[in-house]
């Protein structure tokens, strides 16, 4: 039995679906960020797998993943800073409470 593209991508798809589900259903902002990380991660896997299987002689996919991880880290750090700041203001991290830009 060979491990092919399909087999690597199925977990990635499931992971992406979970990310979508979590993003749409969770009310906790940190949980939403976690779902976002899941989706990002699923995309990273995509890049790597396609790079490895289809274009083994090049490294664009890998590099993309590398940068994506860096950006994800930056984005998470910033997002968490904002969430903590919001929490300080309203003592809550519930996304449904925060529908106004100014409070």
């Amino acid at each position: 039995m060979e491990l092919n593209v399909l087999m690597y991508l199925v977990p990635a798809i499931v992971m992406f679906g979970c990310g979508v589900y979590g993003f749409l259903t969770r009310k906790n902002m940190i949980a939403i960020m976690i779902s976002l990380e899941l989706m990002l991660n699923a995309v990273d896997i995509n890049f790597v797998v396609f790079n490895r299987y289809l274009f083994p002689g090049q490294m664009e996919g890998m590099m993309f993943t590398l940068f994506a991880i860096a950006i994800a880290a930056a984005e998470t750090a910033l997002a968490l800073a904002i969430i903590i700041n919001v929490y300080r203001a309203v003592r809550n991290v519930d996304i449904s409470e925060i529908s106004k830009l100014k409070f």
Binding site: V20, L24, I95, I98, S99
Partner: protein, 667 residues
């Protein structure tokens, strides 16, 4: 006295208005009254000085070659719209302006003095707004003086409106009384309607002649040229020349102020104001503004005989109509008001009939160049009557005020037999009545006689009609006099007997009575003629004799019916009950107006328009608003601020795009 003093004559009442109006309650009641009266006294002295200088002085350009000139004292540009369109504000003296200065300041001074006593209390309480009253009197006097010395017709219009406003303010002086409020509104609306026509007339006139100034409109050589120019440019409208339209419109403006039929309805109601105000505004000065206006433009009217005929017919009819109503009124102020209407109609008619003899004398083209001596008697008579009437009618109103003050009612049924209680007032009133009835040598005789001469000159019918009205005048005035002062001696007058009033009130009566006796000897024919040339008049014994006879007949009839209490008036009333009731109700003119405004205009015009405005215009606006609001309400949830909703929308879009992409690739 230099004519520049006339600026002070006009400015002083304005200053009084500002001072009294602005200080208001900060001034004591008595102080305000005394300040106003003293200022008015100064104004009067100055005005007499100016007028006497104008008539009898020399060296200031009053008379050139035996013709009285219009002297422009001061005429600065006020509004400069364009090079050609300049509105000026200024002071010009001509014979009638100088005469009006005397009339206005005299009556105004008398009223100021009289009001010191009359207005000191109202129904037993100290009058509130005493200062306000004197401020308004100042405003009115200023406006009226500004009107008569106007240099151009636009200035006349402005001051026309201002006298309207002061009249409105003073009629509604007792603003807590609904009747006064209604009366002031009525006066304002009716005169405003008339002023609309006046403005239209001014606009047409000045558009086609290119000027507002009296000097260029009616000055030497002006009128004929202007009329020719206007007619040439304007042509005709509905078969009548455009100038005739303009002049008729201007007359309608004057008719509104001068209470000519059918615009007279406000004047009787205006009697709700304080009586001295009625004497000043609604008897002596403001109501003659219309006559004055026509007189000012007389050279133009001469050339448009059609407009003059309208005035003559309206005047003659109004004179009779108002006199007939005056015979039935029980409210003494209203009777006097109708008498005023009748007398003003005399003046109007006189003006109108005189134009024909002027016009007949000369061909229209050179009407003013070929000045024909001895014509224009009616003009002179009209102005003379304006002068004498102002004096004796002010006297009658002030007497009525004194009576009302003493009795506390306007109805003559509350009076009767006051002669022995109020002898001074009674004699003054009698002098006024004799003057208005045209008994020599009192003032009214001389002026009315000349009016009648002018009417006979127009035609026998006119003369007879006006003589008949003069007889009616004598009748209703003596009916009034006898019902107030005689009829019955046994009348109970409340708990204290009425008596002659305080000296501030009786002195004006005595002064005005004296003037009413001697005013007829003023040589008006030398002073106020339409072309500035002296007129050579002599008493026409036929006319004078017949008019005195008719007046005596009227007086005699009144004496027979009303001197002693009897049932003859009641029997007469019963015999002609329909006629009497109709006259008592002023021939239902007010009801007609009510019907027209409420039933016709409000119901048939205003209501549909209001409906259209509310339903269609507002409805369209509301519909637009509602639709916008509805759309906004539909769109608004998209911007809920809920991040997950945004993401869901985004996801759906992404999925659709992805599906489309895949489908494209597969196909």
């Amino acid at each position: 006295m230099p004519f520049s003093y006339s600026i002070a004559v006009v400015a002083l009442p304005l200053l009084m208005f500002l001072v009294l109006g602005l200080l208001d309650d900060r001034l004591g009641r008595r102080t305000a009254g005394v300040i106003g009266t003293v200022a008015m006294l100064v104004t009067t002295v100055l005005a007499y000085g100016v007028a006497l200088t104008y008539f009898f002085g020399t060296g200031q350009g009053q008379i050139v070659d035996g013709i009285r000139q219009t002297v422009t004292v001061w005429n600065p540009a006020w509004l400069t719209f364009t090079e050609d369109l300049v509105v000026r504000m200024g002071i010009a003296l001509d014979p009638i302006a100088a005469m009006m200065l005397v009339v206005i300041t005299t009556v105004s001074l008398m009223v100021h003095l009289y009001s010191l006593g009359y207005m000191s209390n109202h129904e037993g309480e100290p009058e509130k707004g005493y200062q306000r009253y004197y401020a308004f009197l100042g405003l009115f006097t200023f406006s009226m003086l500004g009107l008569v010395v106007a240099t151009n017709i636009f200035q006349v219009f402005i001051f026309f409106e201002m006298v309207g406003v002061s009249s409105y303010l003073l009629i509604g002086f007792y603003y807590t009384s609904p009747a006064a409020v209604h009366a002031s509104k009525k006066a304002f609306i009716v005169t405003r309607l008339a002023d609309l026509f006046f403005l239209l007339g001014i606009l047409i006139l000045s558009f086609y002649t290119g000027t507002f100034d009296f000097e260029s409109l009616v000055g030497t050589g002006g009128a004929a040229a202007r009329v020719a120019q206007g007619s040439a440019h304007g042509g005709t409208f509905m078969g009548i020349s455009i100038m005739a339209w303009a002049l008729t419109f201007i007359f309608i403006g004057g008719a509104g102020k001068s209470a000519m039929y059918p615009l007279h309805i406000w004047l009787p109601d205006a009697m709700e104001g304080p009586t001295p105000v009625s004497a000043l505004i609604h008897a002596a000065t403001m109501v003659v503004a219309g006559v004055y206006l026509v007189a000012k433009l007389f050279p133009l009217y001469v050339l448009e005989q059609g407009a003059m005929d309208v005035i003559a017919v309206v005047g003659a009819f109004t004179a009779f109509y108002a006199a007939a109503i005056a015979c039935t009124q029980s409210d003494i102020k209203r009777a006097l008001a109708f008498s005023t209407i009748s007398q003003i109609a005399f003046m109007m008619t006189s003006l109108a009939v005189s134009s024909s003899d002027v016009a007949l004398a000369v061909s229209p083209s050179d009407a003013l160049i070929e000045i024909h001596g001895g014509r224009g008697l009616g003009y002179m008579a009209s102005m003379f009557h304006l002068f004498t009437h102002a004096m004796f009618k002010a006297l009658l109103f002030l007497c009525a005020g004194a009576i009302i003050h003493a009795v506390g009612s306007n109805e003559n049924s509350a009076m009767h037999g006051l002669h022995k209680h109020m002898p001074i007032t009674s004699i003054a009133f009698l002098i006024g009545c004799l003057a208005i009835a045209g008994i020599p040598p009192f003032a009214g005789f001389w002026s009315k006689d000349e009016i009648l001469v002018a009417c006979y000159a127009k035609g026998l019918g006119w003369g007879l009609w006006m003589t008949m009205v003069a007889g009616l005048t004598a009748f209703y005035m003596f009916r009034l006099y006898l019902l107030i002062f005689f009829w019955s001696d046994h009348k109970q007058h409340g708990h204290h007997a009425p008596a002659d009033a305080h000296w501030t009130m009786t002195v004006p009566l005595i002064i005005l009575a004296a003037i009413s006796v001697v005013a007829g000897f003023v040589p008006a024919h030398d002073m106020v003629t339409w072309d500035g040339k002296p007129l050579h008049t002599q008493l026409d014994w036929t006319v004078a004799g017949s008019s005195v006879l008719v007046a005596c007949l009227g007086i005699g009839l009144a004496w027979r019916l009303y001197y002693k209490e009897n049932d003859a008036p009641e029997r007469m009333k019963a015999a002609a009950s329909g006629l009497w009731t109709a006259a008592y109700h002023r021939f239902y003119m007010d009801e007609l107006y009510q019907f027209i405004t409420h039933k016709v205009i409000f119901q048939c015009v205003s209501k549909p328009i209001a409906w259209f405005d509310r339903k269609v215009i507002d409805g369209t606006m509301n519909l637009m608003g509602t639709v916008t609001q509805y759309c906004a309400a539909m769109v608004r949830p998209l911007q809920s601020g809920k991040v997950q909703a945004y993401v869901l929308t985004y996801l759906i879009g992404a999925l659709v795009l992805a599906a489309a992409l895949i489908a494209c690739v597969l196909i």
